[in-house]
């Protein structure tokens, strides 16, 4: 009787399932959904902007990538296979570029940013990390801890984002993100190796950015922390700024001089590749979100509150600029002759620096 009843219930259940396929549409993860065509692409929120030869490329919400071949006057939407929020973009050559963002996605372009393909995502990253640490379990408790951590991310559901990336050249590059997560590639992004065991980050702080210049590579993250890649040991070693708040990014302006910036108008400057830091005064308490080194050597930092400050002494001191039409700025890149190309809450804009 009981069996019979179960059987009937199963049949009914199957019938019900078969009868309702029309509306029971499954949710599509943004990693599996291409970015939608956006009529207002250049007026939508964009979080980062960079250059690829003469071209300008910016990334933003819901897989939006736009590029401009006329110095930021008009923008074209690129073809992108995911619709997760993209937060950082970089080019190793005029044609070869990468972008990272939420969903742990790593996108790659070979045509200067018009068409992008997915190289890596958060699900693969977790799998690669777990497999790698499982293989290396014998190396000791540090690896054991990292494996446990990766497994807990998987169990928690969802993916971990990548918040920053840096490519030394068209083969070697890094992507970084939450909870001490960092991966390195030596083949232009085809394969990624977890580097979580090569950071001095026992608290598992988030990495918000990675940048490099002249052989030095830096990480910036929570609690005012900066790390520098020590070539000898092949590890990212601590280079704390002394600040307690979060750093959003880094701007290396020479092989040894670097600026770290973050929340509440905090800017720190080091002239010895991060060994010692001095605070640089800004005129407002707004979070500093990005910076750019101009061709003439001037340094520009932009803020969330639509502020913009310029330094003509390699970041020692800053003076405010007055943008024509301010918005929340998230990214800045030098344009042609005295122009700044800005990405922000209202899309792409340009301002003139006098």
């Amino acid at each position: 009787m009981g069996n019979r009843r179960t059987f009937i219930l199963q049949v009914l259940g199957a019938a019900a399932a078969a009868a309702t396929p029309g509306w029971a549409k499954a949710f599509v993860h943004p990693l599996d959904e291409p970015a939608m065509r956006n009529r207002l692409a250049a007026r939508s929120t964009l979080l980062a902007v960079t250059g690829a030869g003469q071209r300008m490329v910016a990334v933003g919400y819901r897989g939006l990538v736009v590029y401009s071949d006329d110095e930021g006057r008009t923008w074209t939407q690129a073809s992108v296979p995911v619709s997760t929020d993209l937060v950082a973009v970089t080019f190793a050559t005029d044609k070869l570029g990468w972008a990272v963002g939420h969903g742990g996605v790593v996108l790659h372009t070979t045509d200067g940013g018009a068409k992008w393909v997915k190289q890596f995502d958060g699900r693969q990253a977790a799998q690669v990390a777990v497999e790698t640490f499982e293989r290396r379990l014998a190396e000791g408790p540090a690896i054991e801890r990292l494996l446990a951590e990766e497994r807990s991310f998987v169990d928690g559901g969802g993916t971990q984002p990548f918040l920053g990336l840096y490519f030394e050249n068209e083969r070697v590059g890094y992507v970084v993100g939450t909870f001490n997560r960092i991966f390195r590639t030596e083949d232009g992004g085809s394969t990624w190796v977890p580097w979580m065991d090569r950071t001095d980050n026992p608290d598992g702080l988030h990495f918000n950015a990675i940048a490099g210049r002249g052989g030095n590579v830096y990480l910036a993250g929570e609690q005012g922390m900066v790390w520098r890649l020590d070539a000898a040991s092949g590890r990212f070693v601590r280079a704390p700024t002394g600040y307690s708040g979060t750093l959003f990014g880094l701007l290396p302006i020479s092989s040894t001089t670097v600026l770290a910036y973050g929340m509440r108008g905090s800017v720190y400057r080091s002239t010895d590749a991060g060994a010692a830091w001095q605070r640089t005064a800004m005129s407002s308490l707004a979070g500093v979100t990005n910076g750019a080194l101009l061709p003439d050597g001037a340094v520009v930092l932009v803020t969330q509150a639509g502020g913009m400050e310029i330094s003509r002494d390699h970041g020692r001191s800053f003076t405010p600029l007055k943008p024509k039409t301010p918005m929340s700025y998230y990214g800045v890149f030098p344009g042609p002759a005295g122009q700044l190309i800005l990405a922000g809450a209202e899309g792409m804009r340009s301002e003139t620096v006098r």
Binding site: P30, R62, G156, T289
Partner: protein
């Protein structure tokens, strides 16, 4: 039978057999005193009831109740904060920005006074002085936040500076504070009913706001004078009701014009007064019965008393006409009244029934204000059967008419039948029964119909002007609206999609991701200025919780991160979710409320819903002013079609019964169709869209328009069946009824043309359209009926019958049928 069909001239009532006539006639005329007494009592009763007559407008009654969008809205309205009925009050400092101690003191007082107004949903009132408006900031120590109004606010320079900082970090510039910082807004949500369940009295609320405005607008008030701008349905309804009171005075004007026309027609003071009095009695009964039924007047049903009066006057005038001629022949007034009743009761009832049909088809429109209009109007016209078809002849049987006027009337008709006097006009019309003129008239009509049709292709559905299209563009309300849209980044045209989930379902990151997608999808529609939703709140809160890092302005696929921020949104009273977390609106702010804009948004939102609805969440259209507009447009466009079909079908049936000839039906209906087409073309030219207010016009235009054909054609056909040729029959018909047709056309038009000066835009539109339809239908009937008859109705003339003498008057000939 023999004695019944001859209406002899009887000068002494003693010679009249009071058992003659049908039972209704005997019942009425043999109990005249009882009837008059009953009518007096009823009039007194209804007149007394009219004390309780209220003029109001209701937000809900304007909603097309059974449209799925509206049902979705009504089902969920309790959970939709700030999307329901609300008023926005903007207070401007004429002498600088809002951070001025004197101005803020006044602002606080106004804020407090508005808070305690009846009907205000106090918990959700929003201004920089209410605790629900908060700022959030990220510091090294974490999230910081609080009400925009500093808790220790005391008007000192320090606390004003704090307020200025809080306004900045709350991001309310453009929403609660104007872009130029010179004014600030109070958003006042309203509750549809008070604690006792009484519906909100918009007029009272509007007056109360107006009192606050005048109190603080002058130096005599407390504090520095401020300027106030008020918008919202309640204010608009209040202004409409004020406008209605002005419209009441138009009623007097319409009555005066009608009196003048009747007097011209009858040249008899007694009968003019009687006709007006009976029509007024009808209005009193109609308004009184409204109160008894527990209803009031609203901006739509205010047209009913006008129409009842105008229809009453025109029908009353016909009764006069008949009685006068009988009296002119020497018949006693009591007998004359009975003869007239005998001759015209059935015709009058038929014509009134046609009017009732015109009103009654409005019942199919699923909008309560229109249903009520249909009901009260049918009632009003029904009342006319008593007052103007029964009471009027009875009163006439007492009062009689002026003998001189009676003689004059008879002489005139005799002249007209012979083609003299006014008959010259009728002779001119007579030409239309001849081939050449008929062809010309029909060719011209076809050309007009084609031209009209081409123009009418551009006919739009919905409201075409910005602001409140119910009021004139230069009205105070619309100027206030223009100020607010000019100085704030809010559009009053909001289209909301309701995202419905199981309780706690709105916190699912997948739901929020879908909300974000819908919001982005809606922003792609060209008429959408901006969309906003829970997804924006989540992006901002998650960015805030990660120290304000813009890279975290996202909706992560980690439920635990989302959960914490949803809890914050709930405890900070976000209007994007309900406390059960089962409903979240996605708002699209539109550039205007034109039909194309709404259509496009509806199309995109429905396609999204179709694609993304599943067991976990449903995307329900639609709330917000534009959601309601969209549903109303859909219902109105559909109703416009079905109503035309119904009204024409019923008119065709009525004509078929009256004429018993399909050819005659064609002759009667074609001119109406021409008028309908031309009326649509006129709407295009005047920039009037098809909307709730124009539906009654279309139905009435046809329903009342057919009266003319009923009068003219029934006489013409009868004469033809007596053996008169078409030309003769038409001449006789037009001589007999032409004046009445003209009279009806002119009195009806006079009743509504005054509305063209109404401060209420849609009433002005209705007035212009109705005037056009009444007059054009009259012309159409007088010209096209003979022209069409030439081609279709020649065959109706019965050959071989003994044709009566041409000198017999048409009604005498008729009486002998």
């Amino acid at each position: 039978m023999n004695e019944r069909h001859v209406l002899q001239v009887i000068s002494d009532p003693k010679d009249f057999d009071d058992r003659s006539g049908n039972i209704v006639e005997r019942l009425i005329f043999n109990n005249r005193l009882v009837l008059v007494a009953v009518c007096v009592l009823l009039t007194a009763f209804f007149g007394f009831q009219m004390r309780g007559l209220v003029v109001n407008a209701s937000f809900d009654k304007m909603l097309p109740q059974s449209h799925p969008y509206i049902q979705n809205y009504i089902e969920n309205r309790g959970e939709l904060r700030g999307l329901g009925d609300s008023v926005r009050v903007v207070i401007e400092n004429p002498n600088g920005d809002i951070f001025d101690p004197a101005f803020l003191a006044t602002f606080a007082k106004i804020n407090d006074e508005i808070l305690v107004l009846p009907g205000v949903d106090r918990a959700w009132m929003k201004s920089i002085f209410t605790p629900v408006v908060r700022w959030i900031e990220v510091t090294e120590e974490g999230f910081k936040g609080g009400p925009v109004l500093p808790t220790d606010y005391n008007g000192s320079a320090k606390s004003i500076e704090d307020l200025r900082i809080n306004v900045g970090r709350a991001g309310v510039t453009g929403s609660l504070v104007s872009n130029d910082l010179h004014s600030s807004m109070i958003v006042v949500p309203l509750m549809p009913t008070d604690g006792a369940g009484n519906s909100l009295d918009y007029n009272k609320l509007s007056t109360a706001l107006e009192n606050i405005r005048s109190k603080y607008a002058t130096n005599s008030g407390e504090g520095a004078p401020v300027r106030m701008y008020i918008i919202g349905f309640a204010k608009m309804a209040g202004d409409l009701i004020d406008g209605l009171q002005k419209v009441m005075t138009f009623f007097l004007l319409a009555a005066a014009v009608a009196a003048f026309i009747i007097y011209l027609f009858t040249r008899c003071v007694r009968s003019t007064v009687l006709v007006l009095a009976c029509s007024l009695v009808a209005v009193v009964w109609q308004l009184g019965s409204l109160v008894v039924l527990g209803q009031g007047l609203d901006p739509f049903s205010i047209l009913v008393p006008f129409l009842v009066f105008a229809i009453g006057v025109s029908h009353g005038a016909q009764k006069m006409n008949g009685i006068m001629q009988d009296v002119g022949r020497g018949t006693h007034k009591w007998v004359a009244a009975r003869y007239t009743f005998r001759r015209l009761f059935i015709a009058g009832v038929t014509a009134l029934l046609a009017d009732v049909v015109g009103f009654a088809v409005l019942m199919i429109i699923d909008i309560p204000v229109i249903r009520e209009l249909a009901m009260t109007a049918s009632l009003g016209v029904g009342v006319l059967i008593f007052t103007n078809l029964i009471l009027l002849p009875v009163l006439l049987s007492y009062v009689g008419v002026s003998p001189a006027a009676a003689k004059r009337s008879l002489a005139e008709e005799t002249e007209e039948v012979k083609g003299r006097g006014l008959g010259k006009v009728w002779l001119l019309l007579d030409h239309f029964t001849e081939r050449r003129w008929a062809t010309a008239a029909i060719v011209v009509s076809i050309a007009m119909a084609v031209g009209g049709y081409v123009v009418a292709l551009d006919l739009k559905v919905g409201d075409l002007d910005a602001g409140a299209p119910e009021l004139r563009p230069d009205s105070r309300y619309n100027r206030d609206n223009a100020f607010i849209t000019g100085n704030y980044q809010i559009s009053s045209d909001v289209f909301a999609v309701m995202v419905k989930t199981a309780p706690e379902g709105c916190r699912d990151w997948q739901t929020i991701t879908e909300i974000d997608r819908l919001s982005a999808t809606l922003e792609q529609v060209p008429g959408v200025q901006r969309a906003s939703s829970l997804a924006d709140t989540m992006r901002a809160y998650i960015g805030g919780s990660t120290e304000g890092n813009p890279k975290w302005l996202t909706i992560p696929d980690n439920q635990s991160i989302v959960d914490g921020q949803i809890n914050n949104a709930i405890s900070w009273n976000s209007e994007f979710l309900n406390t059960m977390c089962s409903l979240s609106p996605v708002l699209a702010y539109l550039t205007d409320h034109k039909a194309e804009t709404l259509d496009e948004v509806v199309k995109v939102a429905s396609a999204f819903a179709e694609k993304h609805n599943n067991g976990d969440r449903k995307f329900l259209l639609a709330a917000g002013s534009s959601g309601i507009d969209a549903a109303t447009n859909i219902v109105v466009a559909e109703a416009n079609r079905t109503m035309l079909i119904y009204v024409y079908a019923s008119v065709i049936v009525l004509c078929a019964i009256a004429f018993r000839s399909w050819r005659a039906v064609v002759v009667a209906v074609l001119p109406l169709i021409l008028t309908s087409v031309l009326a649509e073309a006129l709407m295009v030219k005047l920039g009037i869209g098809v909307k709730v207010a124009t539906l009654p016009v279309v139905a009435l235009g046809v329903g009342i328009g057919v009266d003319y054909a009923l009068y003219l054609l029934s006489v013409q056909l009868a004469q033809q069946r007596l053996g008169f040729s078409l030309g003769q029959a038409y001449q006789r018909a037009v001589a007999f009824t032409g004046k009445v047709v003209a009279l009806v056309g002119v009195t009806l038009a006079a009743g509504v043309v005054t509305w063209a000066w109404s401060p209420i835009k849609f009433q002005a539109d209705m007035g212009i359209l109705l005037t056009f339809m009444f007059l054009w239908n009259m012309l159409g009937a007088l010209i096209l009926i003979p022209a069409l008859s030439h081609f279709l109705l020649q065959g109706e003339t019965r050959r071989g019958t003994v044709k009566p003498d041409e000198a017999t008057l048409p009604e005498e000939a008729l009486a002998e049928v």
